[in-house]
């Protein structure tokens, strides 16, 4: 009951005119920044950070929350409409979202995306509100072996989305691990695969890889196809799903909300992992699994629900332990620190009103995101009416500027172009691009946690199996892997059995010609 009264006070603070205006502005900024490939909502949060210094702490946090929540959804707009994820976590949304656009269902796709995002985000916000303290106790038990196991779970999830191109997906993932290993190692500071280049010593930024592999390769593909888009997009508005459609997606939204919320609470796992795992799980349980990748509503609803479901619970380790699990929450930590507020268990006692204002801000931001998303999506969809040469020219400019802006170094522009060419080559060879991106993002994390675990536990690999939590997560990863591979294994076994039976069957009289 105490939680409800605190939450009511928080809601009252959020609906104060100045605070509400800031949250609304933040949500719009987040959606726009997320929708522009190469710009990203994290950059928007970084740029907004100095402005928060002059705000009250609660206002600063709800402003940044608005950008965060809006940004996670915003990336889906470009994913769905032009097959270019605005942010990494919206990558899975393109797998079924863009095919829906090509079928003339862009309005429906955007409506599903914004609705599911709001549902996932609200679920996560409620979980954060009512479950912060129990989560904190659970998160305290996580050490490097558990974090490593969680990243392995994320890497294994790629198998679930391989869609009949298992070997190609695995190769793409391994290539991503290699790209992620370029630069200085996290423990000893030794350069690997840098070939004497100082720029490569700081590694290859995943934003550069993402922009190149998706956006530049899309531009090159369009050029190769003679500059024609396959289908004309109909409708420049968003069509909200009907109650019947929402009801049909209830199972998807429920599963993905839980998956996203759990993954979000693990520092370092991130919205990408949540979205990919949710897509993989949905593909396994759906009756339409064979159609995934062709524009299936569940294939869009799952990652959309999950990636926003990570936002609320990602704040739990930040508020309860002072551990930011992502770049976005790290910026929030910076804002809290500037205001002289130290996150941790004591925060709930010393700044109860602030904490519940943040919780209320999340809940309200997920509603505001719907309106912001509808307006921005309409404006973005209008872009589809622009002639393709102009559109792809702008995309090229924005992508190269985005790549340049990562480190203000023109070499990143050429690295981006190089990955664009690689992405184009992958598409020509029918090798999926998404696993490589996942490998680039998760590979360095996995390495860091692995090396830390080895240093802390005497180089014993058994530590991952002897610690119950770590072993449980790895067992979950193994089970997920087997569950994902089972349809292919079953098909292969059936083929072999049929082949063996055919060889053993005695030739019929017709076969013998008698």
């Amino acid at each position: 009951m105490e939680v409800f009264s605190h939450l009511a006070i928080g809601l009252g603070n959020v609906f104060g005119p100045w605070t509400f205006a800031l949250m609304l502005l933040g949500t719009f900024v987040g959606v726009v920044a997320g929708a522009l490939p190469g710009i990203s909502f994290v950059n928007a949060m970084v740029l907004a950070l100095p402005f928060t210094y002059v705000m009250a702490p609660a206002q600063a946090m709800v402003f940044l929350t608005g950008i965060y929540v809006g940004g996670i959804f915003g990336g889906s707009i470009s994913s769905i409409l032009i097959n270019i994820p605005g942010v990494p976590s919206s990558m899975p949304s393109a797998w079924d979202g863009y095919p829906m656009t090509r079928k003339g269902l862009a309005a429906k796709a955007l409506g599903i995306a914004v609705t599911c995002s709001a549902v996932g985000g609200t679920f996560s916000g409620l979980l954060m509100t009512f479950g912060s303290q129990p989560f904190a106790r659970f998160a305290l038990r996580f050490g490097s072996p558990e974090f490593f196991a969680a990243t392995v779970l994320g890497l294994v999830s790629i198998v679930a989305i391989a869609q009949g191109r298992m070997l190609a997906s695995i190769i793409s993932l391994f290539a991503g691990l290699v790209v992620g290993a370029v630069g200085l190692d996290p423990m000893y500071g030794q350069p690997r695969l840098t070939f004497g280049s100082e720029l490569l010593e700081s590694g290859i930024d995943f934003v550069v890889v993402l922009v190149g592999m998706f956006a530049i390769s899309e531009v090159l593909w369009w050029v190769a196809e003679g500059g024609k888009k396959a289908e004309v997009v109909s409708g420049t508005h968003t069509r909200m799903p009907t109650l019947g459609e929402i009801y049909r997606l209830k199972g998807t939204m429920a599963r993905s909300s839980v998956i996203g919320s759990v993954i979000g609470a693990i520092p370092g796992a991130g919205a990408v992992v949540g979205a990919v795992i949710a897509y993989g799980v949905e593909r396994q349980v759906s009756a339409r699994r064979e159609e995934f990748g062709t524009g299936v509503e569940e294939g869009l609803a799952a990652p959309e629900t999950a990636n926003n479901a990570t936002t609320g619970t990602a704040t739990i380790p930040l508020l309860t332990l002072g551990i930011p699990g992502s770049a976005a929450t790290a910026i929030m930590l910076a804002s809290l620190t500037v205001h002289g507020i130290q996150p941790g268990p004591a925060l709930f006692l010393s700044s109860t009103e602030l904490v519940y204002t943040i919780f209320a801000g999340y809940l309200v931001a997920n509603v505001l995101m719907i309106f912001a998303g509808l307006i921005v999506a309409r404006g973005f969809a209008t872009l589809m009416q622009i002639p393709e040469p102009v559109l792809f020219g702008f995309i090229s400019v924005l992508c190269l500027v985005g790549a340049f802006g990562v480190r203000n170094n023109v070499s990143d522009v050429f690295i981006c172009l190089g990955f664009g060419m690689l992405g184009y080559a992958f598409r020509r060879m029918d090798i999926p691009v998404a696993p490589l991106i996942l490998g680039v993002i998760l590979g360095p994390l996995a390495e860091r946690y692995f090396l830390t675990s080895m240093m802390s536990h005497g180089n014993q690999l058994s530590v991952f199996l002897t610690r119950p939590l770590s072993a449980s997560i790895l067992a979950l990863a193994a089970a997920f892997l087997l569950w994902s591979l089972w349809p292919e294994l079953r098909g292969w076994l059936a083929q072999r059995t049929a082949g063996n039976l055919a060889r053993r069957r005695p030739a019929s009289r017709a076969d013998r010609g008698t």
Binding site: I39, N43, L47, L167, A168, I170, I171, F174, A175, L177, V178, G180, A181, D185, M187, Y188, G189, Q190, R192, L193, V219, L220, V223, A224, E225, G226, G227, P387, E388, P389, V390, F392, G393, F394, S396, V397, L398, L400, V401, F404, G405, N408, V410, V413, F414, L417, G420, M421, Y424, A425, R428, M429, G443, A446, E447, F450, L451, M454, M455, N459
Partner: protein
């Protein structure tokens, strides 16, 4: 010679070249990493080269497996009628030109500055993609440069390159005229 050409076209059409190239690159990188010296690592401990070695071994193995599958398919098709008329991938020449254009834009970023480089790139891109109505091309190039310029400098506060020499001076003059600073 005709026989060699026919076999080469068969190899290309089987999609074997990519995996073979990938395998060779992986093996070269593997050799490079395995011959590097890990610094400051206690004996028997996992060090800075462990993870990239692991990843490269997996990549080389995966690429090798893909080569094997494609080679098996190629040998199985050996008796099948050969499709001699496999054309190069559609638009390859255009793709190469597009890559060259984008690369030139990237190079011009530093020397010509964002403003002039983007103006030139958009004009060249539109001409290359057959969007050649003079008024539309000019308007799109100019507005398409100014809009991101304002967005990036005034809103996002991203420092953009101004070029070198005369172009830098011209860029600064234009920035002042445009009230960018």
């Amino acid at each position: 010679m005709a026989g060699i050409g026919r076999h080469w076209r068969r190899i290309v059409s089987s999609g074997l070249c990519g995996p073979v190239a990938g395998t060779l690159v992986s093996l070269l990188l593997l050799y490079h990493v395995s011959t590097a010296q890990a610094v400051g690592v206690p004996p028997g401990a996992y060090g800075p080269l462990s993870w990239p070695l692991f990843a490269l071994i997996l990549l080389a193995a995966g690429m090798g497996l893909l080569c094997a599958f494609r080679a098996r398919e190629l040998l199985r098709r050996g008796s099948a009628p050969f499709d001699a008329d496999r054309q190069p991938a559609p638009g390859t020449a255009r793709v190469v030109l597009a890559i060259g254009l984008i690369a030139l834009y990237g190079a011009a970023f530093v020397y010509a500055g964002f403003l002039f480089a983007t103006l030139a790139f958009l004009a060249a891109w539109l001409a290359f993609t057959h969007y050649r109505r003079p008024l539309a091309l000019t308007l799109v190039s100019v507005l398409g440069t100014l809009a991101p310029l304002y967005l990036l400098t005034k809103v996002v506060h991203m420092p953009l390159p101004r070029g070198v020499g005369v172009l830098e001076l011209a860029t600064i003059q234009l920035y002042q005229w445009l009230r960018l600073f």
